[in-house]
């Protein structure tokens, strides 16, 4: 008796799950008319736009093309390649270069590092110190590891933090228009004392204090 009752409950549960799932699918199809984007697509679009708000030192723009290198992220590279077809950046044809190691960077002006091992980032980026390359990352703690712009998700929107210090080290100037859209700016004249506390962060990043300490 008890077993039959339980089986019945399982059936009800499964039936309810089917109903819920179907309802969800129908709903989402109905809502498909509104434009939808993945994080990859939005980040790719930002990468394209960033080029217009950053000034590179003269020597960095001698190549005939403007190149955005994408390390270890096929999804962003594909989206970007579609967007950049027939486009110009800084008065030059724009190109995407997919790379798997920093040494393949070549004359690229922007380097995007996608979903990488967070702890490897710092190590990888070390050889780039002082080179006129805009480093863009998409992971928690990206700025701490030396990148100039780091994407983050805030309430399902793609936002980014900017490190003025990192940009300066690369000899780049970031325009005020770009700064005004940033979620948070580090290394500026104000707010650089306690970066962990000035901005609400995802919960996991509260590990901030120990991270500072172990350095």
């Amino acid at each position: 008796m008890g077993r039959d009752g339980r089986r019945l409950r399982v059936r009800k549960l499964v039936a309810a799950a089917i109903a819920l799932l179907c309802a969800g699918v129908l709903h989402s199809r109905a809502g498909a008319a509104a434009p939808t984007y993945t994080q990859d697509q939005i980040e790719a679009a930002f990468l394209y736009r960033f080029a217009g708000f950053v000034s590179w030192p003269r020597g960095a723009l001698q190549a005939p093309t403007f190149t955005i290198a994408v390390l270890d992220d096929d999804a962003v590279a594909s989206d970007l390649a579609r967007m950049l077809a027939d486009k110009e950046l800084q008065g030059r044809p724009a190109r995407v270069r997919r790379i798997t190691r920093i040494s393949q960077l070549g004359d690229a002006q922007i380097l995007y590092v996608g979903d990488s091992d967070a702890h490897a980032l710092k190590h990888w980026l070390a050889p780039l110190a002082g080179r006129p390359v805009l480093l863009v990352t998409s992971q928690a703690g990206g700025l701490d590891d030396g990148s100039a712009i780091n994407f983050l998700i805030v309430d399902r929107h793609v936002r980014f933090d900017i490190s003025l210090a990192a940009a300066r080290r690369s000899g780049l100037t970031i325009s005020a228009d770009l700064l005004s859209v940033a979620a948070h700016i580090e290394g500026g004249p104000v707010g650089s004392q306690a970066p962990c506390q000035t901005q609400p962060r995802p919960l996991q990043e509260l590990a901030c204090a120990p991270r500072l300490a172990t350095r």
Partner: protein, 647 residues
């Protein structure tokens, strides 16, 4: 038992068949809309776009709608712990009991077992880099086995509550995921030596790059633990030592990555009586994982082999267990239709037991196969709401197909807040210890296994809140109401007046409780982390039960547990950390509650050398965490340590 295999399979297959195609159809339609417009948008417009799916990485568990506590690498380092079970104590939602120098019990939400009833904590699943380390012989975990260098652990995700829909059987009251760092993140040398009144530690690791895209590390570790001294001055004879070694290699290309890792360990443990000889604990494992990422999907194929062995001295009880496991998992990004994870796996547990007169398994050798299939869909039907529904089907070697569904709802009114609710089911599957055991007490046949023993079952209902209350304060609170059925009891076997005893499923009931923790960054240099866990168990025996050992055989759990951790960054590169913890009284057999304190002072002497002094159980010269005769007195300990990381 045969008649109970059945329809859940058919039903779930029907669910997958029904929803699968519609989901796949929905995806391209959604993805096709207006991608080209993105380049025309201003920075502000881009900032205002809503992301349909965050597909960068699989959702970090810390953000999942579940009671998850993530023990970070830094938390482990700053606590000064030197063993895995001590590290698990950092999770406020776990109940960790030290039994002796080598033995710990880990459980969540009660059910820590009862040694008198030969009931061991068996409702937790523990995985190291995706390799399950529970022993299929009794579904528990031997925490003295395994090789792990805490220095290379990236994080430990501790989920209290069922996790069966993704992880499978025995994830009844929780899942512990130990995740080590990629070899590409651990390049360089590291060596550490430490000594204290209860033992010594020596460990070293070397990691190096192999080209630009790959890296390898190797490590070795040796530990020695001294016997606990008892109040009458005698020794508990629980001293032991262990050597461990292992490697991990990671390669990463544009769309593919590959990991290969392996470990080996060997320990000798004194047997709690003079002249009893040493228990041998040894094992080795190897795991390979391939990961392929495309624009809309991630596929993971994983294979591992694991050998573990325990042998009592002088030809006593022992076993050798070989585990072979292969699993496949795919995460599909379906655009507006959400995200689908599905997977399948097969495991073979091949064991041979060296029986003794007093304790035997019949048959003493088996090869148990365990197949599984799971799917989980997560989507947002309405703004701010996420629904996750999934189930795992497992073909258990003893109990047949088990259906373990899970449904979760998360409401995220703001990026910094989440309210969630969940309902899920999980089972603790029968084991050879339930079905095959034969125990003798002198001439008497004391206990025989029950071939028709049923899985222990739970249906769990949970409600939780997680939020950032202020820039410096975050909070997680969750409550659970778990309904258990078919819990194991000990009964006279059919026809017998008392002996031989056997197992049956005559207990049921419910548990309820709260798990809460917070993080308060008091100032830039000082952080406080309180934690609380309560559980009240309302168990009863079903009609027909003999009542032998009562409901206490399920567990002897403290009703509440508190902790307060303080982390300070002091000048002169000093760190001071401490944890005060309270464990409530144990009911039956009874043990008074206790307070204990651990602390660590660390000094980063130079960029390459760090020195630390730490102490555990500082408030008492010795204390019991499990009542005698089952637990030994645990002595106060101090430990000094030097860590060297050359540039």
């Amino acid at each position: 038992m045969i008649s109970r295999r059945p329809d859940p399979l058919a039903l779930t297959m029907a669910v997958i068949a029904a929803i699968g195609p519609s989901l796949v159809q929905a995806a391209p339609a959604a993805a096709a809309t207006s991608r080209e417009d993105l380049t025309q948008m201003s920075l502000t417009q881009l900032s205002n776009l809503r992301v349909t799916s965050v597909a960068k990485t699989p959702q970090p568990l810390g953000e999942a709608p579940a009671a998850v506590y993530v023990i970070t690498h830094d938390e482990i380092a700053r606590s000064g712990v030197t063993s895995l079970p001590e590290a698990l104590r950092l999770a406020p939602n776990l109940e960790v009991t030290q039994v002796s120098a080598s033995d710990y019990i880990v459980s969540a939400r009660g059910f820590n077992g009862a040694p008198a009833a030969q009931n061991f904590s068996n409702k937790m699943l523990i995985l190291i880099d995706g390799r399950s380390i529970y022993t299929p012989l009794y579904s528990g975990v031997y925490l003295d086995a395994e090789a792990i260098l805490l220095r290379d652990v990236d994080r430990i995700e501790v989920i209290s509550g069922p996790g069966a829909a993704l992880w499978g059987a025995n994830a009844v009251n929780g899942v512990i995921n130990i995740i080590t760092r990629s070899a590409r993140s651990t390049e360089g040398s590291y060596a550490s030596a430490g000594a204290g009144n209860l033992g010594e530690n020596l460990e070293a690791r070397y990691g190096g790059a192999v080209g630009d895209a790959a890296a390898v590390r190797v490590y070795a570790r040796a530990i020695k633990r001294d016997a606990m001294q008892q109040p009458d001055g005698s020794s508990a004879h629980d001293d032991w030592y262990k050597t461990e070694t292992g490697f991990r290699g990671d390669w990463r290309g544009t769309a593919d990555s590959f990991t290969l890792e392996g470990d080996a360990y060997r320990a000798l443990e004194n047997q709690s009586a003079p002249g009893a000889g040493d228990l041998l604990v040894a094992g080795a494992d190897a795991l390979a994982r391939w990961h392929h990422r495309t624009e809309r999907s991630r596929i993971q194929l994983q294979v591992y082999l694991d050998q573990s062995e325990r042998r009592e001295p002088f030809g006593g009880l022992g076993f050798v267990l070989h585990t072979y496991d292969v699993s496949l998992q795919q995460n599909l990004n379906l655009g507006a239709a959400g995200q689908l994870v599905w997977g399948a796996g097969e495991r073979v547990n091949d064991y041979a037991i060296n029986n003794t007169v007093n304790l035997a398994f019949l048959p003493s050798h088996r090869a148990l196969t365990l197949g599984n299939l799971f799917a989980q869909e997560s989507f947002s039907p309405v703004h701010d709401l996420t629904l996750i529904a999934g189930a795992k089907l497992e073909d258990d070697p003893f109990a047949g197909w088990q259906f373990q569904p899970d449904a979760r709802l998360a409401w995220t009114p703001r990026a910094s807040e989440m309210l969630w609710a969940a309902a899920s089911r999980a089972v603790r599957s029968p084991t050879p210890f339930d079905t095959d055991v034969v125990e003798r007490v002198g001439p008497i046949l004391g206990l025989i296994g029950n071939r028709s023993f049923q899985p222990e079952r739970v249906t769990a209902y949970e409600l939780g809140y997680r939020g950032q209350l202020a820039n410096t304060l975050s909070l997680s609170v969750s409550g659970f109401y778990n309904v258990y059925d078919d819990l194991r009891t000990i009964e006279p076997s059919p026809g017998a007046t008392f002996f031989p005893l056997t197992w049956d499923n005559f207990m049921r009931g419910d548990t309820r409780g709260v798990e809460a923790w917070a993080d308060w960054q008091v100032t830039g240099w000082w952080r406080l982390s309180p934690g609380l866990r309560t559980v009240s168990e309302h168990l009863r025996l079903e009609p027909g039960a003999s009542g032998i050992l009562g409901t206490a055989q399920a567990g002897d759990d403290p009703r509440a547990q508190l902790r307060l951790t303080s982390s300070m960054n002091l000048p002169w590169r000093l760190n001071l950390d401490g944890t005060l913890r309270h464990v409530d009284a144990l009911p039956d057999p009874s043990l008074p509650g206790y307070w204990e304190l651990s602390a660590r002072l660390a000094w980063q002497f130079s960029d390459t050398l760090a020195l630390s002094l730490s102490g555990s159980n500082l408030l008492h010269a010795r204390h019991l965490e499990l009542p005698a005769p089952y637990g030994e007195y645990i002595d106060r300990s101090v430990f000094v340590r030097a860590d060297w990381t050359p540039r």
